[in-house]
């Protein structure tokens, strides 16, 4: 069996996952990051996207939003605003959020508002993507 490390995924409203895992891939700011056991001590940010981790040869998937990761040898902590399994995603809500955000993008907004809308749109599209990929 492959070498494992302790993975902790913590969302703002619950502990999503804690346990030993063989491999982890999460969306970083400049592309995806893959982590195996005994990784160099690293701190990096997480963008909204798809996160996956491997336990006993089986991959598990989740949709994450903004957060950060702290990697230190045999211990990885991921802290994000929300983490959801594909089957937990409310497709209707995500679709509504996407439409809302797209509509807002057409309006004139301040820079701050523009960023907020973009983040909202990103989150909604990511949710839909993860849901579609793993449930159909």
């Amino acid at each position: 069996m492959a070498k494992t490390f302790l993975l902790e995924i913590i969302a703002s409203d619950r502990v999503f996952f804690t346990g030993q895992c063989e491999s982890l891939i999460f969306p970083g700011m400049d592309g995806e990051h893959g982590i195996l056991a005994n990784h160099e001590r690293t701190v990096t940010c997480i963008d909204a996207g798809e996160l996956k981790y491997k336990i006993d040869g089986e991959w598990f998937y989740a949709a994450v939003s903004d957060g950060y990761a702290e990697v230190s040898g045999d211990h990885v902590v991921i802290i994000a605003d929300t983490v959801e399994k594909p089957e937990e995603i409310d497709v209707k809500r995500a679709e509504e959020a996407k439409i809302r955000a797209e509509e807002r993008l057409r309006q004139k907004q301040s820079i701050m508002e523009y960023y907020h809308t973009q983040v909202a749109l990103n989150k909604a599209m990511n949710r839909l993507k993860v849901n579609q990929r793993h449930l159909k």
């Binding site: 940010c45 957060g67 230190s72």
Partner: protein, 296 residues
Amino acid sequence: MANMREIRNRIKGIQDIMKITNAMYLISSSKLKKARKTLLATEPYFVKLQETIHDILFYAPHMHEIFFERREEIPEEDRKIGYLVITADKGLAGSYNHNVIKAAENEMAKHSSKNTMLFVVGQVGRQYFLRKGVTVDCEFLYTAQNPTMYRAREISETILQLFQTRQLDDVYLIYTKMVTPIKSEPVCTKILPLERRKFERRKAGALHAKFEPSPEVVMDRLVPNYLKGLIFGCMVESFSSEQNDRMIAMEAATKSAKEMLHDLDLMYNRARQGAITQEITEVAAGAKALKKQKKS
């Protein structure tokens, strides 16, 4: 001895108030249940967030980041200090608001600077400080009820923006921490600038961690995220303490109302008995007088 009607009015008044306190007790206990649930769910996040930021700052290499600027060149009395105070929207929560406000005032008294700016969450604290004539940010209007990530993000953005544009030099956060389910106490922590723990690391001989893609970029994203999480956690904890304090206060009020009613009941019965005895004596005396008149 007070007369019967007065006592009866008093009893009625107390009964009416007791109805209100009892209802408030029930409401706050059901709200508390909800608040506790969110608190329990958020606690691991809150704890881990502080742990990791502690670690990250420990391993962070030297960098020029605005979040670390201590601005030591500014003398103590010119520093612009911001306080984020989390109070309740409504009173009648025992000493909850009083404690937070007092903690904020103590903290303000510690610094000789006159350039203080208050950011108050919740109406009670806001009104109090406005009456006191302390500078309160007027556009900073947030409710303390049912904290959300969204609200926490807006608050942290406002504060970060002021810090980055040098309108604030130090920022403190004052909130109520739930120590045990029956005990809560106000806590004050400094949130900006972040303290770098360079010297401790050197002593421990630990190496820098790798920051990807670069320390500056990571910090630019990480600090707002951290602040947002921190403020959210504090709001959740304060809200839970508020409901808890209100529940305890209302329970005590209901209990003392019951005691008062008991005492007044005794007093009322005594007064009634007194009145009856007096009436009987009067009737008896009257009858006796009549009898005497007939005889003579």
